[in-house]
């Protein structure tokens, strides 16, 4: 992990969701979300962002909820790239659980088996 995102970045990131979604909608359209993520994670680098976007287009294809949006940053912030500190009982949104499954099943990440 290169660095920890600043508090400022976090504010911007979470604001981006509110700003980018349609007025009156609760969730953010997938296309828009992906665009925002590409932008934001160019600022603060997260190497799994492309896989994340691919996964969503393949397996989810629906809008993104606010909780998923904000929890993704937590995930990117705290979980290392080998997913060694990812905990199935960690109360992550189910989409993120499925993303981890997707990464391991497709051999993109070799999780250390303990």
């Amino acid at each position: 992990m290169a660095s920890v995102p600043s508090e400022k970045f976090r504010e911007i990131y979470n604001f981006a969701f509110v700003w980018a979604k349609e007025k009156g909608q609760k969730s953010l359209a997938l296309e828009t979300a992906i665009g925002m993520w590409q932008l934001l994670f160019a600022e603060w680098h997260w190497s799994l962002v492309d896989h994340w976007c691919q996964f969503l287009q393949l397996k989810h294809n629906k809008a993104i909820s606010r909780d998923t949006w904000s929890q993704l940053l937590e995930f990117a912030k705290t979980i290392d790239l080998q997913l060694s500190n990812y905990d199935e009982e960690g109360a992550w949104p189910y989409l993120i659980d499925e993303f981890v499954e997707y990464l391991t099943e497709n051999g993109i990440v070799q999780r250390p088996r303990n």
Binding site: R66, D67, P93
Partner: protein, 732 residues
């Protein structure tokens, strides 16, 4: 009276000492010594008790107690040594007899001696801390006879040998044995030390050897019978000639050697072990195993574990065997039979042991839920019983069957799936009027209500209410019509409240013109009396009785489904219709249409239509003809296909989907309930609580619970805690 001076009275001892002539003491002792000799020589009759007693008394009185006591010890010891010799000289079996006889004589002598020495016993003995005469006599016997080097081991060997022979089947002198062991018991710890301990050791090695032999040549049942026999023999032996305290010790030795050491091997013995006994209902053998294994540590645990494993395995096979799953009613009957079998075993052989009942229940719960069609099949079983199986059965027996079904129901994890199917099947039964007994139906509802609460059955009861109300409505309808109906078809309508009945979305098909008239009349009548309601004909659920005349003017009455009626009525105006034409005219959905045509044209004895080509399957370019040549020996022919049957794969998927959909709001309601009361909770605890709250209906999937939580977050019922993302907060 004046006070007199009180004078104290005093009794004074002799001022001078009364001396006894020392020779007097010696003389007195000699008299007593002689008496003891006489007593031991069986010449006591010539003695004067009074004189001897007085002599002993005088000696003690004149302070010669010590001389008396030690003289007694010496004299008795001398005699006992002679006695020892005579016992040692006894040959073979006379040994014990001689010992016994001498013991008896010694006791008699001892009693006389004690009587004579009673004054000494009461005065000199306690004050000098000596052993009282009786006990002294026993101790001397012990030291000089029992512990004599030539007697001690011979005695033990003789006793053990006799016991060994008796174990081998010989008859021994039990009375003599009893006397000897009683003698040992009288001597205090001698019984335990000198006899019991070695007895137990020797017995252990005897039974160790015997059990080794038996386990090689006997089957399990035989072995257990022999073990039981040995145990009762040992108990009997104790009661006849051993100390009662030995019973628990010797039985524990036998239990250890014969049972505990061979438990594993016995239970798992090929062709005769526990599993074979269970399979063959060997009640007696099982009862014996239970009562024997109960005596040893973890014996019952072993039986229970092996039984559980076997049950789970046979159960698992039963619910995964495609052969057994072909007929749902049969399948459930198998389950009930299996339960009956084990209930009987537990009651007859396992003493109604609760832990075994629990093992049985948990095993059934395990394998019944391995097959996710169990709820459907159990409902089909009930359907079969209520449709015809319970015809003519007494009320009590009906209750028995229904109670057994309820017991299976309790094992189901997915009770909500059962509810769905039960509703469907009940609807069909009610609408086709094919129920054997209204009371039985009601009884089943009551049982479900008792088990699951009012909510489970409120809709079912709604269905019954609708049926009743419909009867009244229909009466009202016909009363209002009187003259206007005439020769037209007779309509019987059941008005179903949408919420109570299983929803099966179906657009009504096209009804024949002959029917439409009266249907509209009914609709008008009903909506006239019930404003604000909407009626939709459920053409996929009805039945019709139609009269048909065939080629040679035979008349038959056909009982068909509404769909089938629509199809058949088309042939009143034409003789031939293609599949496509029928589809267009009736607008019956394709899969239903194919099924109906099949039952009208392809079933022997019911083929009122003829199909070209004559294949079994319905193809889109088939043609259908009215079958002039139809015959049946019955005037009334039933062709309807409204009976409940095992769902096809696609139907099953659909039902499962609906069940999953229904579960979502239930899970959400549980989450909200829990969070409302607890306010803040971590994820895992929510999952546990929700599962426990819903377990009487189904087992919720943790992933589904998670999705529901996220949905509730999105709808702002909950939020994540700002500091700890694993905690959720309830938003008021």
């Amino acid at each position: 009276m004046s006070a007199q001076k009180r004078r104290t009275f005093k009794i004074e001892a002799f001022k001078h000492r009364v001396e006894i002539d020392p020779k007097y003491a010696e003389r007195t002792w000699k008299v007593l010594e002689h008496a003891i000799h006489e007593i031991y020589n069986h010449n006591a009759s010539g003695l004067s008790f009074e004189e001897l007693y007085r002599n002993a008394y005088n000696m003690v009185l004149h302070k010669y107690g010590e001389k008396l006591y030690s003289g007694l010890v010496t004299t008795m010891t001398g005699h006992l040594k002679e006695i020892a010799k005579s016992i040692e000289d006894a040959q073979g079996s006379l040994f014990l007899e001689e010992l016994d006889r001498k013991w008896g004589e010694h006791n008699k002598a001892l009693q006389m001696i004690r009587d004579i020495m009673m004054y000494m016993d009461r005065t000199f003995v306690p004050s000098s801390g000596r052993t009282p005469v009786h006990d002294l006599g026993l101790n001397l016997w012990r030291d000089n006879i029992i512990h004599s080097s030539k007697i001690q081991s011979r005695l033990l060997d003789t006793l053990l040998d006799l016991i060994h022979r008796e174990r081998k089947g010989e008859v021994i002198n039990r009375g003599l044995m009893r006397n000897i062991t009683k003698m040992l018991m009288d001597l205090g710890p001698v019984y335990q030390e000198d006899f019991e301990k070695p007895f137990l050791e020797v017995s252990a090695s005897f039974y160790s050897g015997e059990s080794q032999q038996l386990i090689e040549c006997c089957d399990c049942g035989e072995y257990l019978r022999k073990a039981e026999k040995r145990l009762s023999e040992e108990t009997e032996r104790v009661s006849h000639y051993l100390d009662s305290g030995s019973e628990v010790k010797i039985t524990s030795v036998v239990e250890g050697e014969m049972i505990a050491n061979h438990m594993q091997r016995l239970v798992h013995m090929e062709n005769s072990g526990l599993v074979n006994m269970l399979v063959d209902d060997k009640y007696e053998d099982l009862a014996r195993m239970y009562s024997l294994f109960r005596r040893v540590t973890d014996g019952l645990l072993m039986i229970r574990d092996v039984m559980t494993l076997h049950l789970r395995e046979t159960g698992r096979q039963l619910v995964s065997d495609p052969e057994k799953l072909k007929d749902p009613v049969d399948f459930v009957q198998h389950l009930l039979d299996e339960k009956d079998k084990y209930d009987l075993i537990i009651s007859k052989s396992f003493n109604n042991d609760k832990t075994f009942q629990n093992a049985l229940n948990s095993s059934f719960e395990y394998f019944i839920n391995l097959n996710n069609r169990s709820p459907e099949f159990i409902s089909l079983y009930v359907d079969d019983k209520l449709r015809k199986g319970l015809k003519g059965v007494s009320e009590e027996d009906v209750e028995v069957v229904l109670d057994k079904v309820m017991m299976l129901f309790r094992y189901l994890q997915e009770k909500d799936v059962f509810e769905k199917y039960y509703k469907q099947h009940l609807a069909k039964r009610l609408l086709s009027g094919k129920t054997v007994s209204d009371d039985a139906e009601r009884s089943m509802i009551v049982k479900l209500k008792t088990e699951c609460g009012y909510q489970f059955t409120s809709k079912l009861e709604g269905m019954f209410t609708d049926m009743k109300t419909s009867v009244d409505t229909l009466q009202g309808f016909y009363a209002s019509q009187h003259a206007e109906i005439g020769d037209g078809p007779t309509l019987a309508v059941q008005v179903l409240t949408t919420g109570s009945w299983p929803t099966q979305p179906s657009a009504p098909c096209n009804l024949p013109t002959e029917i439409i008239g009266i249907c509209e009349k009914f609709r008008t009548y009903y909506l006239g009396t019930h404003t604000g309601r909407r009626l939709t004909w459920q053409t996929n659920m009805g039945t019709a009785d139609i009269k048909a005349t065939f080629g040679k003017a035979q008349k038959h009455e056909l009982n068909v489904s509404t769909y089938q009626m629509c199809i058949l009525m088309l042939f009143n105006s034409v003789d031939r219709l293609s599949y496509k034409e029928i589809e267009q005219a009736t607008e019956i959905p394709a899969s239903d249409l194919k099924r109906c045509l099949q039952s009208l044209a392809c079933v022997k004895g019911k083929n009122v239509l003829r199909k070209e080509p004559m294949s079994k399957d319905i193809a889109e370019d088939d043609a259908f003809y009215f079958n002039d040549k139809f015959t049946s020996k019955f005037i009334k022919v039933k062709i309807g296909t409204v009976a409940a049957q095992k769902e096809s794969e696609p139907e099953k998927q659909e039902t499962r989907q609906r069940v999953e959909e229904d579960r979502k709001p239930q899970i959400e309601a549980a989450i909200v309930r829990i969070m409302k009361s607890r306010r803040v909770l971590d994820h895992n605890t929510i999952v546990t609580e929700v599962t426990s709250q819903l377990q009487s209906r189904f087992l919720p999937n943790p992933v589904v619970i998670k999705k529901r939580i996220e949905s509730l977050i999105e709808r702002e019922f909950l939020e994540r805690d700002k500091a700890d993302r694993k905690l959720y907060r309830y938003l008021a």
